[in-house]
Point group: C2
Chain length 323, copies 2
């Protein structure tokens, strides 16, 4: 009979780590073994690991019943806060670093010689499939806010192994305006495609455009995700950032966010999505022909698709509303 | 700067287990360290362990972004299914064995000599604080269903160490009717307090009453918890059971469920709450003075409160509606 034993194992050892446990050492395996032989292998793999870690967590902290009930109520509250354009479970994952970790798991790539492309980081909810191509050197600023700082943004996209420039790569960018809002969520102040643009690199792998110096903004603090932040004594701010999605048919794409190097929230980003090679330097310029007051240069390194032939830029299920 | 590193650790080791990881070995600690110094120690302990296990789970199964989105949507769906008398997060916990595990963590008790009291198992949602005391030997069956099997249920409550009977202990019992429903959820067929009763042991520690042989029932299969069961190839059935909550001022209380030994769902209980010393033998009897067709004897062992002075029977937050 494989039902749960009654005798304590106070003096026994629990599993492979040799530490003593007073709890039934067979219980977790019992729950896992309830899965039928017909369970799909990937479902079995994921659920077995989930059950094991969930149980280990409960035992490790010796979760009290009251604490467990608080957790049960919290999980219920997440879905209750869900509505169109507000995906509360997604936010909770972000705060716990899960989206950023899943991004790394899915996009980390390195050659045998240790060559890395530009780091990936989370896509975020505001990418648009409809962003128009624009001429190199043109501006994405359709609606200039009074406090906007026009920036000339330019760089080279090159092969991370050979250093050779990559012509015809696409640099797709999007950013919030100085009020922290993206075009589609701010119809009163912004026209469609404001602060969005796709740019195709020239024969020397170069791209350039005018945009705004990005502005910090806080995530929504009205729901259960904000309760979690308060419990942890954390702020709700994201560092200022410009999103980019770089693609080319022969190269592994890179989706990332680029942050001003002097942003105060780099180390404490509420969604844990900052990486060292994604930092930008905004340099003051004078008498720029199109009126920019800042210059920003950022180069992108891509790796050949041969290192990850099945790579795709987007999640199949990414068309979920999020914030 | 403690922001996330960019270089892979393909050839490094990750943490204490010596296995190689290609992922940033500092990321999880980075997320944990976002907690402020003012975070309460218990919150820090619980959230650190939660983050660690959540991240280890993602890395262990190399969760894809599509799988992660499925998980995000699933968590949202749990709270969306919540309503009065339907606590979906609680059900999901039950299916994953978490309620049963938390019960063990909180109620497992054993003397230095290895003496155990009767096992505890989950309270369930149907205990009532208003159940009336009844005379020893009386019946809890106020509404006899046509297919009910009247059972004479009796036993002795004794000290697990000394074997001495315990007078004035309270045996509080409740059970579903043959349709799988408890009185408060079945007002058409059952009067209030049907199949519930409290019994005080006599000077010899004995208790006795008439009840029904319990009947198996399935948990609700209309929501996300049932999706999880289907994914695991599991059925929604609970073995038949009689609930008991045994208390005495000088002893550690025991809350448990008692199951017919021949029940087909003992090993696959959907909420994983069966233990070997909680099994009942129902023996046919003839010419029983009050018309019972079955006899069931079950003894309970309690341990002195000196082994767990702070024990209490109920969760402070247990007054949450559940099913």
């Amino acid at each position: 009979m494989t039902i749960n034993g009654t005798n304590g194992t106070t003096n026994g050892t629990n599993g492979t780590n040799g530490t003593k446990s007073k709890y039934d050492p067979n219980f977790t395996q019992h729950v896992i073994d309830l899965m039928s032989p017909e369970t799909k292998p990937r479902h079995r793999e994921i659920l077995s690991s989930l059950i094991r870690h969930l149980h280990d967590f409960c035992r490790e902290v010796e979760l009290t019943q009251d604490e467990w009930i608080i957790g049960v109520n919290y999980v219920n509250s997440i879905g209750q806060a869900w509505k169109k354009n507000r995906n509360e479970a997604w936010r909770v994952c972000d705060i716990l670093g899960v989206e950023s970790l899943v991004d790394e798991i899915n996009h980390k790539v390195e050659t045998a010689d240790g060559v890395n492309p530009t780091s990936s980081t989370i896509l975020g909810p505001f990418w648009s499939p409809d962003t128009p191509f624009r001429e190199l050197g043109s501006s994405v600023v359709q609606n200039m806010p009074p406090d906007g700082e026009l920036t000339f943004f330019h760089g080279v996209i090159s092969d991370a192994e050979t250093g050779k420039p990559i012509p015809d790569a696409v640099f797709d960018m999007w950013q919030a305006s100085t009020n922290g809002k993206y075009d589609v969520f701010d119809p009163e102040n912004q026209t469609r495609h404001n602060l969005r643009g796709k740019f195709r690199t020239d024969k020397d792998g170069k791209f350039s455009f005018y945009c705004l110096k990005p502005t910090e903004y806080a995530i929504d603090t009205s729901g259960p995700s904000a309760e979690l932040l308060r419990l942890m004594g954390r702020h709700p701010w994201r560092p200022a950032h410009i999103h980019m999605m770089v693609t080319h048919p022969d190269y592994i794409g890179v989706t990332a966010q680029l942050y001003p190097r002097d942003d105060q929230y780099l180390e404490t980003d509420t969604v844990c999505a900052v990486k060292e090679d994604l930092l930008l330097d905004f340099k003051p310029v004078q008498n720029e022909p199109n009126g920019a007051t800042l210059d920003c240069e950022y180069d992108v390194r891509l790796l050949s698709k041969k290192y990850k032939p099945d790579s795709s830029m987007l999640m199949q299920n990414a068309n979920q509303s999020r914030f």
